[in-house]
């Protein structure tokens, strides 16, 4: 962890919308080491996408970003002008999004779109860019790269389009790749291929990855560390083993129990989390999960809990003591 690619301290993001202030992210810390795959999980509206878009300044104009520190590659991104930021995007930090169709220009060939990225960021000539584009397509496992560069996005399947986007994101060998739900729109078989591909890339280039997803299965299979977000706050953070085998937060536990496991006995019932996520325009004064939590105490509604440290990598934000949580979770069975 000495080699940090990204370090974010007390990041807050607010939106002004119809005279109301939406507090999407309410003070989170995130660190990503070199060659690390960090998963951010959470429900829609938990602030996970907004948080990473803040790193790349891709938020709309009504967004206000406030942070003590956003460091990447030795540079404090907070002080950069939009012009300087453009050099960071693509070169240092690249992003891929959920929907591979809307991220590609429908009327320009795949080859040209790739070349443009390479020419723009690396200042090479068209010829070199073309060669590089071919190489990238090959790298991401496109079966006929020669044919593919002449095709338009609509001619490719969803999985192939997502590969093109990954190729595009990696063309300039970024230090950090942010993948925002990259497989949510894809079928399981294709999802498996894309996740394998992301794993390969980390092995080969030492790229760090932030993988945003709501699928805990995906996290378990690809990530090294996990950040669990809820209501704009980080509820729990730890290595995958810590999060999946010794969760220390009722929300994490509830999430784990909500997914059916393959070995689940017939006739058993899924444990749903009753209620709904908190409103972000008027967030609760206490723990955002308190309304839906089965272990609440009075204090949970009054103030936001402090972050407790359980190991050098494992932290959780809950008023309950470690022993109490362990005792409460001891009998729980979930998708192991």
């Amino acid at each position: 962890m000495s080699d940090k690619i990204l370090e974010v301290k007390s990041l807050k993001v607010f939106f002004k919308s119809r005279g109301k202030l939406v507090q999407a992210v309410r003070g989170i810390n995130i660190e990503v080491g070199r060659g690390e795959i960090v998963g951010i999980v959470g429900e829609s509206g938990s602030g996970k996408s907004v948080a990473v878009k803040a790193f790349t300044k891709l938020l709309p104009e009504n967004a206000y970003i406030d942070a003590d520190l956003i460091m990447s590659g030795g540079k404090n991104l907070l002080n950069l002008s939009e012009r300087e930021y453009r050099k960071i995007r693509g070169r240092d930090i690249a992003m891929i999004f959920q929907d591979p169709m809307t991220s590609l220009d429908p009327v320009i060939t795949i080859g040209r779109q790739l070349e443009e990225v390479i020419v723009r960021n690396q200042g090479t000539g068209r010829k070199q860019a073309q060669a590089k584009a071919l190489k990238m397509l090959e790298k991401v496992g496109i079966p006929y790269p020669q044919r593919c560069i002449k095709q338009y996005p609509h001619e490719l399947s969803g999985g192939m389009r997502q590969r093109v986007l990954i190729g595009m994101a990696l063309a300039c060998s970024p230090k950090l790749l942010i993948a925002d739900e990259p497989t949510t729109a894809l079928d399981v078989t294709i999802q498996a291929q894309i996740l394998d591909l992301i794993g390969d890339i980390v092995g080969e280039y030492g790229t760090s990855v932030i993988l945003i997803t709501h699928d805990l299965g995906v996290v378990a299979q690809t990530c090294m560390r996990v950040v669990v977000m809820y209501g704009g706050l980080v509820m729990e953070e730890g290595t995958v083993d810590e999060i999946f085998y010794t969760p220390m937060h009722p929300y994490t536990m509830a999430l784990l129990k909500a997914i059916p496991s393959i070995e689940m006995a017939d006739g058993s019932r899924l444990k749903s989390i009753e209620g709904f996520p908190p409103s972000l325009t008027n967030p609760p004064a206490g723990c955002p999960f308190a309304d839906r939590c089965s272990y609440t105490m009075d204090i949970c509604f009054k103030q936001i809990p402090d972050i407790k440290k359980y190991s050098s990598t494992h932290t959780s934000m809950c008023f309950l003591k470690g022993e109490d949580l362990k005792a409460a979770f001891a009998g729980e069975k979930y998708g192991k």
């Binding site: 496992g141 399981v188 999802q191 393959i262 899924l270 749903s272 009753e274």
Partner: protein
């Protein structure tokens, strides 16, 4: 009760013929190609497969939302393959559908009361009874009677799906096609909706056809499961049996692709052939899965495998199923 067949399809076909450039006719898209299927009363039949395999089309053809191209459909032994529009109306209160996207399936300008009155009017219920009936259904799906005056935008995704379920229930149907009802919802909300569907099934004796691409959820809710690949059912078995002992190479591929929520059990590298996925328009004489299959033989390329009962209640459409397993 278990053995009463509610819906039976024989050799069902549904082809689409898209118009291409300048209205030229393209090849047929064989969305449903020669499928035979029986759905028992009170069961949940799960359909799984990749997007574009025809599972939604199959479901919609079964409830006669689409006119089948070939084959026949029987409802309680009665042939409903080509019945007239007037009779179709009668079927509407037997069959209902719940859609994937609760945001798009509800009219944004109608409040919940109006959304639920529509089906009641269609079945000719006396307007004096509407408000009681609506209150009753809303309670069943876990919404309050004061929600009647609210509009869809005032609800969250999970609540909207409950409205969709309420609308389907309004006509007291027997059979509900659940077309990816949980795909657009968050994990914690998915469990709520699935539990609700199960409670309703128990209480009202409903029969479901449930499609989803989340396999573990289908495994959880279904009695039996059919695996579809490019318009055909390639394997059909009791849900537990299918997951324990998949026989078709495609089912094996699907199951091995599920990311398990268990880091220690991380999947070993899957071997995939980077074959461009075949499309429904491709003319194929043999098994549709052959281009992606690692066990394919000469036979697979020239003859369509039929669904055979390899083990009791476990059907598979693969020429080499015996050899592979």
């Amino acid at each position: 009760m278990e053995n009463e067949i509610l819906i039976l399809a024989q050799g069902l076909k549904k082809y689409f013929q898209p118009r291409g450039f300048f209205g030229l006719k393209n090849n047929f898209i064989k969305a449903v190609d020669d499928i035979s299927l029986e759905i028992y009363k009170g069961e949940t039949f799960g359909l799984v497969g990749e997007s574009g395999c025809g599972k939604s089309t199959l479901g919609r053809t079964l409830i006669r939302m689409y006119e089948p191209t070939g084959g026949s459909i029987f409802y309680k032994g009665e042939d409903i393959t080509h019945i007239k529009a007037s009779q179709l109306k009668m079927l509407e209160n037997r069959f209902q559908i719940i859609f994937q996207d609760p945001y798009m399936a509800l009219d944004p300008f109608w409040n919940v009361g109006e959304i639920l009155e529509e089906p009641l009017r269609r079945i000719g219920m006396d307007s004096g009874q509407w408000s009681n009936k609506i209150k009753d259904i809303l309670e069943k799906v876990g919404l309050g009677s004061d929600d009647v005056h609210k509009f869809p935008y005032e609800f969250s995704g999970g609540q909207r799906q409950r409205i969709g379920i309420a609308r389907a229930l309004a006509v007291n149907p027997e059979f509900i096609m659940c077309d990816e009802p949980i795909a657009a919802l968050d994990v914690s909300i998915q469990a709520q909706v699935v539990n609700l569907l199960q409670d309703l099934q128990e209480e009202l004796g409903l029969t479901y056809l449930f499609t989803a691409h989340d396999l573990s959820m289908v495994r959880y809710i279904s009695t039996r499961i059919g695996v579809m690949y490019l318009g055909r059912i390639v394997e059909k078995a009791k849900s537990r049996e299918l997951f324990k002992n998949p026989l078709h190479p495609y089912t094996k591929l699907l199951l091995s692709s599920i990311p398990l929520p268990d880091p220690k059990n991380a999947v070993k590298k899957r071997k995939f052939k980077s074959v461009q996925e075949a499309a429904l328009t491709d003319v194929m004489r043999g098994c549709n899965f052959a281009p992606r299959c690692e066990y394919k033989t000469e036979l697979c390329l020239c003859e369509v495998p039929i669904l055979r009962e390899l083990e009791a209640g476990h059907f598979v459409a693969c020429h080499n199923a015996k050899e592979i397993n």
